[in-house]
Symmetry: C2
């Protein structure tokens, strides 16, 4: 039933690729004020494309920052409505000298399309638009209702997205959300992401003397803030990678044996080699895959105190600071976890120093959708079919804030249909996207749009 | 018997102060290449003064850096020989705007002479030279033999001093060394320093992954180097300020009850307030004074890992580093202590990371002289007499490398006759030296030179 649509994509390969290259040529670097007009140009490209395809109510919505592009096609009576989210802004391309071809002059080499944004996220946004074009040009309609929301500020924190979603809850109401801004666990290995971690963070500062002191004249009178901080940090996690803050694991949802098995079967990175460590370390009682995907973590992200230059400076530092973030799993409330850590630290202040804790305001709950949900199963089936390989179901140790926001605001399943690969060099020089993922991915989308029309 | 000498100093107060001001006017900043000629000029001032006084074999000795000035007067048959050490270089004076008068335009205000070097060490060097002048002008001789060695690189590490001392061991041979480059525990409180701490140092680096990693994608697989470092550091000292490295205290000389009492009676800083801490911290079983003066310490001087900027960066840092120095007491060998710490760290490397330890090459043994030694007792008596107050005997938590070098090379007592005060602002803007310490100090020196002529 989708042959004509697929044929359209097949026959228009070159022109579609050309159109994507046009999109990628716009240096829509959202973080750089000098590219403000380019960001707008990329948004306009999206809006114009939506209009060409036949979307209604297409708007370039001012936000105070870079605009959001909205469009909708709602004529699929009785079919479900998808809220499609993506972003048209890109990371900066510097250092330019490390690129083998110009970041904003898309180039095909070795079956990959090289350009900033090729994978993250212009390439993947474009796939959805091209599939919609193919449907409209061949069948004159889409199989499902689609509300498209493409922002221009993802790479700078999506500051204006959540207020927009909040203020237009009715307009944006949908049965599920669809996002293609992620990747597969390996090139050619179809992957369904069914869970993400949440996070919370804080910064601990141990304040000792009011200035750096001579370690000879004051050593023996004054508690060393760097040592006090080390004692505090060492009390948060033991050498078996178990977080020792009381109650940290209280609300963690149990991990069923079948899910653990799935996780352990998931293909992954060849860890000790890939990152150059003597051996992996994971929580006592859990495998690396289980810990990464489904167990919470507490990490020191940065730490500083006293003298950092060459050689020696014999001081007792005035202060010592550590930045800490936790990745959270379903069941854990970010605020509660932050409270528990802060309470624990504040109730174990070493004598002779003061300790202040700065709470990181940004936080997110973990996200998880039932992997057996038909919306995911249908996607998995189409991925397996197109890529000729069984789809693996994985949970990600990272967080995607927009997913948490959509989950919280709309309480709908979020389907994360990512076509990127670990070799795409996101946010790095020589970003690329494999052309076979581009073409097979559109095939998946054509069939998926068709299949989910039946899901109620 | 010293009346004439004291009278000479009295009668020449103004001209001697004028001559000191001339010495202080030379900006002999050893660290600043732009002042190379000024440093030489100050050295020449010293050499010329020595010649005027009647010293023999006066030389300005090239060192590759700033020159050393040497001179000797050896005609006191049967009397002991003193090796007098000092330095004619000074710390930089910036920030200039924080000085109330120009650093190199000596100014008297409120009974203090303000100038860079007034206390450290030109003022105190000058006192000895003026006293020698007074003796020569009145009695035509000095009571003791004096070998004078004044260097120009103290403030930049005395790099060329030790080789010079080593290469001229016979020429410099003396019965005791005399140094006035320190201070009293309080203004007007005569103080005899009879011990200094030694030191040793090292830098520990925990190496984790070969780059900073995404804490979501890798948290659960990779040991966090900052956390591993915290565990290592926390294992070196407990919260009772006891160093927990095995054998750290093995060779520490016992502290006799009488010495502990002396230490506890010594006047000192009003600690919690003076440095702005909630309370002092000292080694379990020892008072603050005992710990500072006579118990070894282990301090973290600096620590760094990962992200130190504003806000959050959710990484697992690639490495974490801490700089550590220990202050050592008599009995402890710096090399042995360094070995013990390195061995302990290297035999407790957490799984999943590598640890490397860089040994700090510079080290020093502690120095201690018997406080009952007649060379010290005579100095104490004269100090008590001149300042009208009982002299306190203290050991210093800091180190004076030249003392350790003289001790090791010549194995002679070092008399530390310091006339500075804690209010002198050494190495800071508005360095000063109290005029009454200048005058009373010279009185002490006159009588001390006289008294030690009898010491065998
Ligand atoms: Zn993205
Ligand atoms: Zn000095």
């Amino acid at each position: 039933m989708t042959e004509a649509v697929l044929k359209y994509l097949e026959e228009n390969r070159e022109s579609l690729l050309g159109k994507l290259e046009e999109f990628l040529s716009i240096p829509s670097v959202s973080t750089d004020g000098a590219h403000k007009q380019d960001v707008l140009k990329a948004g306009t490209f999206v809006a114009n494309y939506l209009k060409e395809i036949g979307f209604q109510s297409v708007e370039i919505i001012e936000t105070g920052g870079h605009p959001l592009v909205y469009g909708e096609w709602l004529e699929a009576k009785d079919a479900p409505t998808a809220l499609f989210y993506g972003h048209y802004d890109v990371q900066p391309a510097d250092p330019y000298e490390l690129w083998d071809s110009e970041p904003f002059e898309p180039t095909v080499r070795n079956g990959k399309l090289f350009a900033r944004g090729a994978s993250d996220d212009k390439g993947q946004v474009f796939m959805h638009l091209a599939v919609c074009e193919a449907y409209m040009k061949t069948e004159g309609r889409l199989p499902v209702n689609v509300k498209v929301c493409i922002e221009g500020e993802e790479e700078i924190g999506s500051e204006n997205l959540v207020p927009f979603l909040k203020n237009h809850k009715d307009k944006l109401a949908a049965d599920f959300a669809l996002i293609s801004d992620s990747g597969m666990v390996a090139k050619g290995q179809p992957t369904m992401l069914y869970g993400l971690k949440g996070f919370t963070g804080l910064e601990v500062t141990v304040k000792g003397p009011n200035r750096d002191l001579h370690s000879g004249l004051y050593g023996g009178a004054v508690k060393n803030p760097a040592m006090a901080l080390s004692h505090i940090l060492a009390s948060l996690k033991n050498d078996q990678e178990v977080v020792t803050v009381p109650g940290f694991y209280d609300d963690v949802e149990a991990l069923p044996a079948e899910e653990r098995q799935l996780m352990n079967e998931a293909p992954g990175e060849n860890y000790p080699e890939s990152v150059g460590i003597p051996q992996t370390s994971s929580e006592q009682g859990y495998t690396v895959n289980e810990h990464i995907m489904a167990r919470p973590t507490l990490e020191i992200n940065g730490m500083y105190s006293g003298y950092q230059g060459e050689g020696t400076k014999t001081i007792i530092p005035s202060t010592a600071t550590a930045k800490i973030t936790c990745r959270l799993v379903p069941g854990q409330d970010p605020q509660t976890i932050q409270d528990k850590i802060v309470d624990y630290i504040e109730s174990h202040v070493p004598d002779g120093v003061e300790v202040s804790v700065k709470r990181e305001a940004l936080s997110a709950k973990a996200y998880k959708v039932d992997p057996d949900h038909p919306l995911l199963q249908k996607a998995a089936d189409q991925l397996s079919e197109a890529f000729g390989k069984e789809t693996v179901f994985v949970r990600l140790g990272g967080s995607i804030p927009v997913v948490e926001s959509i989950d919280q605001l709309f309480n709908i399943p979020v389907v994360l249909l990512g076509f990127g690969t670990p070799e795409d060099n996101l946010h790095s020089p020589n970003e690329s996207f494999p052309l076979d993922h581009f073409h097979k991915g559109m095939e998946v989308l054509v069939n998926y749009y068709h299949d989910v029309a039946q899901v109620k």
